[in-house]
């Protein structure tokens, strides 16, 4: 009972603090503090509700148990992280985005192809490509190569569509100016069209960063060596070791946010001139 009362108190205190903070003039501290307080409140409520109502750890382990498990099995988590994120997702991401970028630049030379590729690419990007996973596992074996292949297929089309669109972003006036400078195709591409395509390219890279992790993890549900985050999640669920599953999810969340954050930082460095970055 004490835990439940504690949870209600935490909820009231957290909410009232946030209401008070939200009324203050907006500053960097308040806009950072409010979501942090919200998150901490949520975790504390979770902890107290699970303890107070005696929910079985098989259904929902409290955060403290997850944190404990996280620190205890850091070795397993690290091995899984390397297998899934570094080997599977990252290599597939680099290959897929690289290939899509090169093909987009090639397609861009032919307006005919461009008009064909955009609708088809948009269509394919909406399909459940993740279903290719069993086929890739069949072709490339159980190890990380098949996961990388799934990731390649998943990130390819969003990246292709965004890059092709980006290469059209420079307007006629700017291209004419390059012509009056007697700049050839390659010079125009390097000095004008690629830089102006960068906001679109980074949009594609950001979408692809989430897709890459999802692809690598889900592909492991179809078969993998005895390590990897998807493998660990599906087997631990079978053993009802939900604290380990949650620890893997924490790792996935950190990896996903860091991946996305890294791409966003790179974007800020490359497209510093764009209005959305100057804010």
């Amino acid at each position: 009972m004490g835990w439940v009362v504690f949870g209600i108190c935490v909820w009231l205190v957290g909410w009232l603090t946030n209401v008070w903070l939200a009324r203050q003039p907006k500053s960097q501290t308040t806009s950072l503090a409010v979501p942090v307080i919200f998150g901490v409140t949520l975790i504390l409520i979770w902890e107290s509700v699970v303890r107070g109502l005696g929910i079985s750890p098989v259904l929902l382990p409290p955060p403290s148990v997850i944190a404990e498990r996280f620190s205890q099995s850091s070795e397993i988590l690290w091995v899984d992280f390397v297998q899934t994120v570094i080997k599977g997702a990252l290599s597939g991401y680099v290959i897929g985005c690289g290939a899509a970028f090169v093909i987009a630049v090639a397609v861009d030379r032919f307006p005919f192809l461009q008009r064909g590729v955009l609708p088809v690419g948009n269509f394919v990007a909406a399909l459940p490509i993740i279903g290719m996973a069993p086929i890739m596992v069949m072709w490339f074996g159980f190890d990380w190569q098949s996961k990388a292949a799934v990731v390649v297929v998943m990130v390819f089309f969003p990246m292709l569509v965004n890059t092709v669109q980006g290469l059209q972003a420079s307007d006629a006036m700017q291209r004419d100016l390059m012509r009056t400078y007697a700049a050839g195709y390659w010079k125009t591409l390097l000095k004008l069209r690629l830089p102006s395509a960068m906001p679109f390219v980074f949009n594609g890279l950001k979408i692809a960063s989430t897709l890459a992790l999802i692809g690598a993890i889900v592909a492991e549900f179809f078969g993998s060596p005895v390590r990897g985050m998807g493998f660990r999640i599906s087997t631990s669920v079978g053993q009802l070791a939900l604290d380990l599953v949650w620890a893997e999810i924490v790792v996935a969340a950190i990896a996903g946010s860091a991946f996305y954050g890294g791409v966003a930082l790179l974007e800020r460095a490359v497209t510093f001139w764009h209005p959305s970055q100057r804010g």
Partner: protein, 287 residues
């Protein structure tokens, strides 16, 4: 209309690549078989004929997949467990249920975020962060936990679909409900509009284009959620189960036909939303 020819060219190119790939990938198996039968090397025409008609090819040719789809949709009874229509129906019902739940929840949360400053400041950053997290990873856990507390069947899959389709709707609707500018909001004030009127006559109508765009994204995500949600329960029913069963038994034609079926389903569902979007926006004079 001027895009028809280029699109057809690209589609034709995809089919050519598919056929060439089928011949190339299945060639080793065909040659090995011929060598084992003592026939020596196959001639080119024999090779092509063999690679395009194997039983368990590495990459089935398009016409094999088309034939399998024809056999499992038109020629099978709909209630049969071997009918793809039956499996598609199961996946689609989970998708639609999750989509409706997710959209409802997303719109409700977006209204809360737009009208309540505290909610905006505390929830919105988490909604955005949560998009960078591979949420699909928790699908097996949701299924097993919901099974453990006695919820089985459609609902666990729908919960995963809901989770995936909910975020695009929140983000799109928040943008949409905020899209009326100062001037328009002031105009509503001068007309002495109540909060309710402001919402129904200005904010909600002007959020429609944003809503439909995010509905399309949400529907695609919802289908992915339903398919992945079918994996951990073992190969019971649904398109995801067909994929899993196919990968267990090496039935590549079955995997590909399930995959194409999923693609058709996605295209239909997203297409319906696109059509509704066009009709609604036309009625509203926005397109």
């Amino acid at each position: 209309m001027r895009n028809v020819l280029p699109v057809l060219t690209v589609v034709a190119a995809i089919f050519v690549i598919w056929y060439v790939g089928a011949v190339a990938l299945n060639a080793t198996w065909a040659q090995d078989n011929a060598a084992r039968a003592g026939g020596g090397e196959l001639s080119f025409t024999e090779l092509v004929a063999d690679t395009l008609s194997q039983d368990k090819p590495k990459l089935p040719a398009p016409h094999q997949v088309a034939l399998e789809i024809w056999e499992t949709t038109v020629e099978k009874n709909i209630t049969s467990r071997r009918s793809l229509i039956y499996h598609s129906w199961i996946t689609m019902s989970a998708t639609l249920m999750g989509f409706v739940l997710g959209t409802g929840l997303g719109i409700a949360l977006a209204i809360g975020i737009v009208y309540n400053r505290t909610m905006d400041m505390s929830v919105m950053p988490w909604v955005i962060t949560s998009q960078t997290i591979p949420i699909l990873a928790i699908a097996p856990m949701i299924i097993v936990v919901l099974n453990a507390i006695g919820i089985t069947g459609l609902l666990p899959k729908a919960v995963i679909s809901m989770y995936l389709s909910f975020f695009p709707v929140v983000v799109g609707m928040v943008k949409g409900l905020r899209s009326p500018d100062r001037m328009q909001l002031d105009q509503m004030k001068t007309w002495h509009a109540t909060g309710n009127q402001e919402f129904w006559k200005l904010r909600f109508p002007s959020s429609m284009p944003y809503l439909f765009t995010s509905l399309k994204v949400g529907m695609a995500a919802s289908l992915v959620g339903a398919i992945v949600g079918e994996l951990p329960t073992g190969a019971v029913a649904g398109l995801g189960a067909r994929l899993l069963a196919g990968s267990y038994y090496g039935q590549t034609v079955q995997i590909w036909s399930a995959l194409i079926m999923a693609a058709v389903l996605a295209a239909c569902l997203v297409g319906i939303i696109g059509l509704t979007q066009r009709l609604v926006l036309k009625r509203m004079g926005m397109a």
